[in-house]
């Protein structure tokens, strides 16, 4: 093989290797947003407690994935968690849709479940979901259970 052919092949090999390194380092970064969903619109939901909800978690309605969590932040006026959701434009929801934070399986990943209401007006892009239900925090439930059983023990 001639000189240039070897150089080109070696260059290709080195480039491929570095491309693989970059892919691993960025952890295939925005691959899912470019492959997963088409056109989207954003809405905001405010929760008292989001538990372990993370950006990029799924948003489901009736079990079907209809969008993703874009970002999670804290509103320092109301001390509520502000969750930005991005929903597929194919799906429209009524204005009084409620959002719940649910868990897949007992210890699985947390996601947002949307339950459509009966309003005829639709949720506009940039709108806010006002009816929300916080994540279930296991420690709180155990705490309540212990408190309750201790109270019952005192009565006896």
């Amino acid at each position: 093989m001639n000189r240039k052919g070897v150089d080109v092949l070696v260059g290709l090999f080195v480039l491929l290797g570095f491309a693989a390194l970059v892919f691993l380092a960025l952890r295939a970064g925005n691959m899912s947003s470019s492959l997963g969903l088409g056109e989207t619109y954003q809405v905001v939901a405010k929760f008292d407690n989001i538990g372990g909800l993370k950006p990029r978690a799924a948003v489901r309605s009736a079990g079907v994935v209809v969008g993703r969590v874009v970002s999670v932040s804290l509103d320092d006026q109301t001390f509520q968690a502000v969750v930005r959701l991005e929903l597929d434009t194919r799906y429209k929801f009524p204005k009084d849709t409620s959002a719940k934070i649910l868990t897949a399986g007992l210890l699985g990943e947390q996601y947002i479940g949307l339950e459509p209401g009966g309003d005829s007006a639709l949720l506009a892009p940039g709108g806010t979901l006002t009816l929300t239900q916080s994540a279930v925090v296991l420690e709180n439930i155990i705490g309540q259970f212990l408190y309750k059983s201790a109270a019952e023990g005192d009565k006896k």
Partner: protein
């Protein structure tokens, strides 16, 4: 008299081992020094990268993809029991980047490139080419061995990265495309759990160490080989055995150091 003979034989055996270790260390230092020198002749190194790296590409890429398939399937079957199939991406990527990528690549590399290096150097010796070079006042270690050494050390991390990347792709194909794990959770759990410095960086560091190991073992064994057909064949076998064991032993030590 008899026991004294046993003791003196044991001592001389120990002495031989020591001398062999000393020779190997001297050879390692000389090779490392001369491989830096050989940067002045980049042509030789590029030819060797072509021979060692490009020709190993097919076996590395195909094995990476297949290992990714298997990890995807096995991981899914186990994770399904705990209802956490979404963690599949994390499982596949962490196992590949931390362990399987560097180790399996190094084992394949020892089999694919290490043996050919040993056989090449051993046959050059058997064909008296090495002696001829010495007669012409050309240092065979600098001219023949050093470029091969450097090329192998450069190729190894790149091949390991390609192996891991293809493995992640294989896990994605089986997990998401074939079985139907949610693509967003697959990537987001992966991105949430894999640290680029701690996991990917340490994996690369491992593969660099393995590159040095394979290249050194292959060239040392080839250069010390008996200059006969049997000697070369024995040397080739020795390369695979010694390099593989060294890789696995080093991997244990490196893992204990890096991820404790």
């Amino acid at each position: 008299m008899n026991s004294a003979g046993t003791v003196s034989r044991a001592l001389s055996w120990l002495g031989d081992r020591m001398a062999a270790t000393g020779r190997a260390t001297r050879f390692f230092l000389r090779l490392s020094y001369l491989s830096v020198e050989s940067l002045r002749r980049p042509r030789l190194i590029i030819d060797q990268i072509h021979f060692i790296g490009n020709y190993s590409l097919s076996i590395i890429l195909v094995s990476g993809l297949l290992i990714g398939f298997v990890l995807g399937l096995q991981g899914y079957y186990t994770l399904r029991r705990y209802g956490s199939e979404e963690a599949l991406g994390l499982l596949v990527t962490l196992s590949l980047v931390r362990e399987l990528g560097p180790v399996v690549t190094a084992l394949l590399f020892a089999g694919r490139a290490g043996t050919s290096l040993t056989a090449e150097v051993g046959l050059m010796k058997a064909g008296e080419q090495i002696d001829a070079m010495e007669m012409m006042a050309v240092d065979p270690v600098a001219r023949v061995l050093a470029p091969r050494y450097l090329a192998a050390v450069i190729c190894m991390p790149l091949l390991a990265a390609l192996f891991s990347a293809l493995g992640v792709l294989g896990g994605y194909l089986v997990g998401v495309v074939m079985i139907g794990v949610d693509a967003g959770a697959f990537w987001s759990q992966m991105q949430g759990g894999v640290d680029w410095l701690r996991d990917v960086g340490n994996g690369v560091a491992k593969s660099v160490v393995f590159g040095f190991t394979v290249a050194f073992v292959a060239l040392h064994v080839g250069y010390q080989a008996e200059a006969t057909p049997e000697g070369v064949s024995r040397a080739t076998t020795t390369t695979v055995v010694v390099a593989s064991l060294a890789i696995l032993a080093l991997d244990f030590i490196l893992t204990a150091l890096m991820f404790s």
